[in-house]
Each structure stands twice: as C-alpha cells, then as structure tokens.
C-alpha cells in the first residue's frame, strides 16, 4: 500500500513537472533522466547526443541498455493495469489457500510487482557508435520525458513468473528451455512457450516444451516471462498471463 502511494506520488510529480515545464517560456523540449539526474535539451536532440552523455563510462553494456518514454497518459494506463493484476493475484492466492507453496509464490510475485517502475520502452538500437556513424540509427527524439538506462554487463538471465524474479547464470551454449529447467525444475510442465521481452516491438514466443522446443540460445541479460502454468489458472483467471505479459512490457528493469 505504501509503495503504491509512493508510486502514485511519483507519477503525479512527473505530471506536474511536465505541466510546469510546458508552461514556462524557455522550457526544455526533452528531459532525459540518466542515473537519477535530469538532463534537459532545449531543442529536440538526436539519439546520438543523448547516448553520448552516458557513454563516458566505457563499461556500459549497450546491448541491454534501454530507453523509455515517460508519457503521462501511458503511465496512468499502466498503473491501472498494475492495480488490476495485483487484485487478480490476491484473489488467486486466496483461491489456492489449500496449496500453501503456490499461494506464497503468487503473493511473492504480487509484492515484487507492486515495486516495479513503469514506463514505455522504445525499440531503438542503442549504441552511441552506431548512432554517430549511421543516420538511420540516429532519429530525433520527440518532445517529452525519457529515461535512459545504461547498464553494466549482466552475467545472468532474468525469468519472471510464478514466484517473482529468478536469476540464472548465463552460460554459452545453454538453450532457452534449459534456463527454464534450471530456474523452476520440473514444476513448469504445462508451460509450452515462454516469452522473450525486449527482443522486438512485441514479445517473442520461445517454444520450451518437450514437443516443440528448439535450439534457441539467449544473450546475457535476456528478460524472460514464464507464464503461470494453466493448472493454476481456473476459469476466471484465464487472462492473467496475458495481463502479466502486457504489464511486463511496461516494466523498468533495474
């Protein structure tokens, strides 16, 4: 509850900042949040300029860097979705009271979910060297607020599903379904596909069951969604996986 309020405050603060910014005479057209600080640009910058501000640290691992747009309307919609999903999870865990492990996992997912920061990810190749040298990778940013998240190289894969986030060490040659087994063991029989987030404008479906799996490998830092197995989803909760997937698309991963 407290965390939800603080999030709401953050959204309102962002909205106020945006409104006041647009009312001032000489306000920045674009605001980029980078490492907790705001960078303002009075004229809409191109991507290369924004990325260069973050590239002074040469240990940035650009393949997993992410740029988000902080669009107030979209944020409000995402918050509403989060509220709905949290309620679904709470009711579902009550439904499975008889299965304490499952109920605990659902509540764990719910509490982690409550702390997610939400924003709208943009699908652009983020690499200052690429943007500086090739015009097609250097678009101009529209006016608004953004969040740039450069990261160090993660040596693990993140799987989000029942029980919240699981982290599995990345090893060369490991296949997608093997990461699933390492994270969840055989508990996840019944999951036919997992979803690879941020690999494209829409999540990419990866087959992982014994009847459809393939030789898909994953780069370090991959973000996966493991749907809740169907056996834990009675009729009223049929849409839960779709909703979780949609919410994950707006999640800001640390």
């Amino acid at each position: 509850m407290r965390s939800e309020l603080s999030l709401l405050r953050r959204v309102l603060a962002g909205l106020c900042l945006f409104l006041t910014a647009s009312l001032q005479a000489q306000s920045p057209a674009v605001l980029v949040e980078l490492n907790g600080q705001q960078q303002g640009y009075f004229q809409q910058p191109r991507l290369a300029e924004v990325l260069l501000a973050a590239s002074s640290d040469s240990r940035v691992y650009w393949p997993t860097a992410q740029l988000y747009k902080l669009d107030p309307k979209q944020l409000v919609a995402a918050e509403q979705l989060r509220g709905a999903v949290m309620e679904q999870l709470r009711l579902l865990s009550i439904h499975w009271q008889a299965e304490p492990q499952v109920a605990a996992n659902l509540m764990q997912l719910r509490s982690q979910l409550a702390n997610w920061r939400l924003a709208q990810p943009l699908f652009l190749a983020l690499d200052p060297d690429l943007s500086r040298t090739r015009a097609e990778f250097n678009p101009r940013l529209d006016a608004g607020m953004y969040l740039l998240q450069p990261k160090r190289r993660p040596g693990f894969i993140t799987l989000t599903g029942l029980g919240g986030d699981q982290f599995v060490e990345h090893k060369a040659g490991t296949l997608a379904y093997q990461y699933l087994t390492q994270a969840y063991g055989i508990d996840h029989r019944g999951v036919d596909d997992i979803y690879w987030l941020r690999a494209g404008p829409t999540p990419v479906k990866l087959p992982v069951a014994s009847w459809n799996r393939n030789l898909q490998q994953l780069p370090p830092g991959s973000l996966l969604f493991v749907p809740v197995p169907a056996k834990w989803l009675p009729e009223p909760w049929q849409d839960l996986n779709q909703q979780l997937l949609q919410l994950l698309q707006s999640r800001v991963y640390k």
């Binding site: 002074s56 393949p63 060297d129 040298t133 090739r134 060369a172």
Partner: protein, 233 residues
Amino acid sequence: MRSCCSTLTSARWLLLACLPLLSQCSGTTKSYQNTLSYVLFPAPDHQLNRVELAKRPYDTLYAKVGDLPQAVLVLAYDEHGQQKWLSADRALLILQQGRLVKTTGFSLDLVFSARQGIDPLSKPLAQIQVGDHFERVLDWSAAQHTNQLQKLSIISIEAAPLELLQQQFDAVLVQEQVTFADQSTAINQFWFERRSGRLLQSQQQAAAFAPVMKLTHISSALKLLPVEVQSAF
C-alpha cells in the same frame, strides 16, 4: 533444310560473341555482368601513395577483412583509450592497443569484450615477454555467440623486417596463440617498430567463425619516416 544450317555454324558463334553489343544495357544483363566481373575480377586492394597519405588531415588504416578487398579507413574518434576507425560504408572497427574490441555495421558484430588479466599489448614493447597471457570474454550480436571465453598467450617475439610505403622498417613480430571457445586455435601477429614501439601492422582473428583481419597502421608508419622522406614523391 538441315544442310543449310551446318554452313551457318560459324555464323552462330559469331552472333553469340556479339551478344554483349547487341543487347541493350538492360538492368538484368548489367546486373549479371556485375556479378560475373565481381567473381572473375575481384576489386583490387585499395591503397594510397605517400603523397595522398601526407595530405590527409586524419589518420588512416588499411583493413583487409577476410577475402574482401582491402579498404581504407579513417580515424573517426579517439576516446577512452580506443581508436574508432570508420569505413566508407559506415562500418566501424574499434581497436584498443591495436586489438579489435568492437565492431558496428557488420552482419555479425562484436558488441563487447572484457578482459581478465593484463593485455600484453598494453605494455611497452620492451616489457612484452613470451608466456604473457590473459583471457577475454567476447559477446557477438548473435545469441549463440555470446559469452565466448578465449585464452591468449604470447608464444614468440622475434625480429622481422617489414616493408611499408616502399621503406623497410626494423620491426619486431609478436606472435600470440589464441584458443577459442570451441578449443580451436589461431595465431595473431603484431608487428611493432623496434625503437618507438608503435604498432605498424597486425593480423588477428577474433573468433573461429570470424574472418581474419589484416590491419595496417599506415599513418603511424608515415609518421615514423624521416621528414624529407615523408614528403618526397
């Protein structure tokens, strides 16, 4: 009917020989001519002479990637201890102490390289010794080529004269054995100028599936020449 055709046999072959003249330069014919000439007469390696080199305001690198003709690259950025060389079709080769650490613009790019230990090439030439070794972890842009561990160790250091710009350079050849993630090996070669320790040429392979790259630091070579020779024709 059959007999008159046999007398025209030679005429047929003559017609065939005239085909390129008769056919209008339709797009299709031209594209096949291009393909054939690319295969039969590959483009020659590109080089610049000393005068052209001296006139250029920015440093130049010759890069021969695999079987492609040698390309001329310019130094686009020199930052964070890395030199970023740019080609005409806007691909980048990023070198750190002469070693390839990143590329952009290729169908399979090297996106990241992290080392464990000290890279012998970062030491002054006099301090490089046989047996110096370190390890690297490389990430390429394809998922099946990420987290590739490779071990590199210096196996020989010997004198080897090198000819560039029609001059002989007193060079030291440092040979390094690299063991790739699939346990196959290759030899990387680095030619340093003896007195200044500057890297003049290198031949390196970043992965078993990557092409062998021959990089010639021609501007470094030019700067090492005596001033009179630099501007001579």
